[in-house]
């Protein structure tokens, strides 16, 4: 692909990001999902103007540079809050697992931080200009946060998969798309660092393609039906399970009554 064609392709992708972000915000609002996915909804409200300025400002201008440097950390804060929201949604239906979930979160966080530190090993070189250092800092922070969030989600899922829990479809969709999105972003940022300046345009296009795919996957796959709790099977074995569950529920109620009477 020639430089001109790549530039046009990139512009088309930026328009798609803008439209896709707007459509997700509208879909979340009209379906009422914005009440449940508040941070996710807020991110797409922020994303609409954040997808607009790259279309209006020339990429070589000073204004573009400062817009990039100032909005970069905001995007990262949104990413962290979105994953925090996902963590709460995962455990929403399971009050009995709050402490177990917290243990899983601490372990996942420790693993995620350790791995993201490895991804941040490349450092400043003394010959860097001030603006290069600024760009490097934003890029390094993005790489570290993206890696940490992806690893955090995967470790959390791995630890929780040891419990007999079923996640709602929307939560599963969020977990998979976040993992793919964050890992792909990390890959693009690492490739940009390894391959150098000559491949920046191609990698920017790759990054935009990933964002567009993620946005359209969210747009298609998130739905009010995805909030329904998964249905259980009704075969003979499920009846046995049902009987045991009734026992366990009765037991939990008894324990709760005892603990309340002790407190009282």
């Amino acid at each position: 692909m020639t430089g001109g064609a790549l530039s046009s392709f990139l512009r088309v992708l930026q328009y798609m990001l803008l439209v896709g972000s707007g459509l997700i915000a509208v879909k979340l609002y009209t379906t009422g999902l914005h009440r449940k996915y508040r941070i996710f909804f807020a991110y797409f409200l922020f994303r609409v103007p954040n997808s607009l300025w790259p279309l209006l400002l020339p990429a070589s201008s000073v204004a573009y540079f400062w817009a990039f440097v100032y909005t970069g950390p905001l995007v990262l804060i949104f990413y962290i809050l979105m994953v925090r929201e996902l963590y709460h949604l995962v455990l929403e239906d399971y009050r009995g697992l709050q402490t177990a979930g917290r243990y899983a979160m601490y372990l996942s966080l420790a693993g995620a931080v350790a791995i993201s530190i490895l991804a941040l090993l490349p450092k400043f070189t003394p010959t860097m200009t001030q603006s290069s250092k600024g760009l490097f800092l934003v890029s390094a922070a993005e790489r570290g946060v993206d890696t940490a969030l992806a690893v955090f989600i995967i470790l959390l899922l791995a630890l929780l998969s040891r419990y007999p829990i079923q996640l709602r479809r929307n939560v599963r969709v969020q977990a998979v798309i976040y993992s793919i999105f964050f890992l792909s972003s990390t890959m693009v940022l690492l490739a940009r660092m390894v391959l150098g300046k000559q491949s920046v345009a191609t990698l920017n296009a790759a990054s935009s393609v990933i964002s567009v795919c993620s946005i359209f996957a969210w747009l298609v796959m998130l739905s009010p039906e995805g909030e329904r709790a998964p249905q259980r099977r009704t075969d003979a074995r499920a009846k046995n399970e049902q009987r045991l569950l009734l026992q366990l529920e009765e037991l939990n109620a008894a324990l709760l009554r005892v603990s309340r009477s002790k407190i009282g």
Partner: protein, 176 residues
């Protein structure tokens, strides 16, 4: 470029892991592995023979017999290890079922069960390290280099079993 390929492979593996884990959490093929009867029948009695299976007195007895050869001892050790591994698999399966029963209890609780979470995590970690240690010692036992003591592992299982039994009162009906 090699570094980039390695990182890309790792990223793809992580994405695959995320998809598999999410599929597992979709509950497509999940079933509860215990019944109320199974909980009430649970006992460490069946593991009593396992505790003396690798006792050195049997080997010593064989050595004292006329016609003893090293090949006979090696064969005895091999057979005992084989039987012992069968018991270990059964112990592991029972431990997992007890853990799962406690997890079901936590999952269906309306109140945070931090007490159970701590016990479960601690005992699972102890059981895992105990199991690894037993397997290592078992490999050495085959060559006559060490003995194997499984009482610690059975004790951990028994503690978990007691935890479960104390939570499931006998006054509750066990059959529908």
């Amino acid at each position: 470029m090699i570094l980039l390929t390695l990182i890309a492979t790792a990223a793809l593996a992580l994405i695959a892991a995320a998809v598999i884990l999410v599929r597992k959490l979709s509950g497509v093929d999940q079933s509860l592995p215990v019944t109320a009867e199974w909980i009430s029948d649970l006992s460490t009695e069946q593991y009593r023979p396992m505790m003396r299976l690798l006792d050195s007195t049997d080997i010593q007895f064989l050595r004292d017999q006329p016609g003893y050869t090293r090949a006979m001892e090696a064969q005895l050790r091999r057979q005992r290890v084989q039987v012992f591994r069968g018991y270990l698999r059964s112990l592991n399966a029972d431990f997992r079922r007890v853990s799962m029963a406690l997890k079901i209890l936590m999952t269906h609780s309306e109140k945070d069960r931090g007490d159970l979470a701590s016990v479960l995590m601690h005992q699972e970690l102890l059981f895992l390290t105990g199991m690894i240690s037993i397997h290592c010692r078992l490999a050495l036992y085959r060559w006559g280099l060490c003995t194997v003591d499984v009482t610690g592992l059975v004790r951990i299982f028994d503690q978990m079993r007691n935890e479960l039994c104390s939570l499931v009162p006998s006054t509750l009906p066990t059959a529908a």
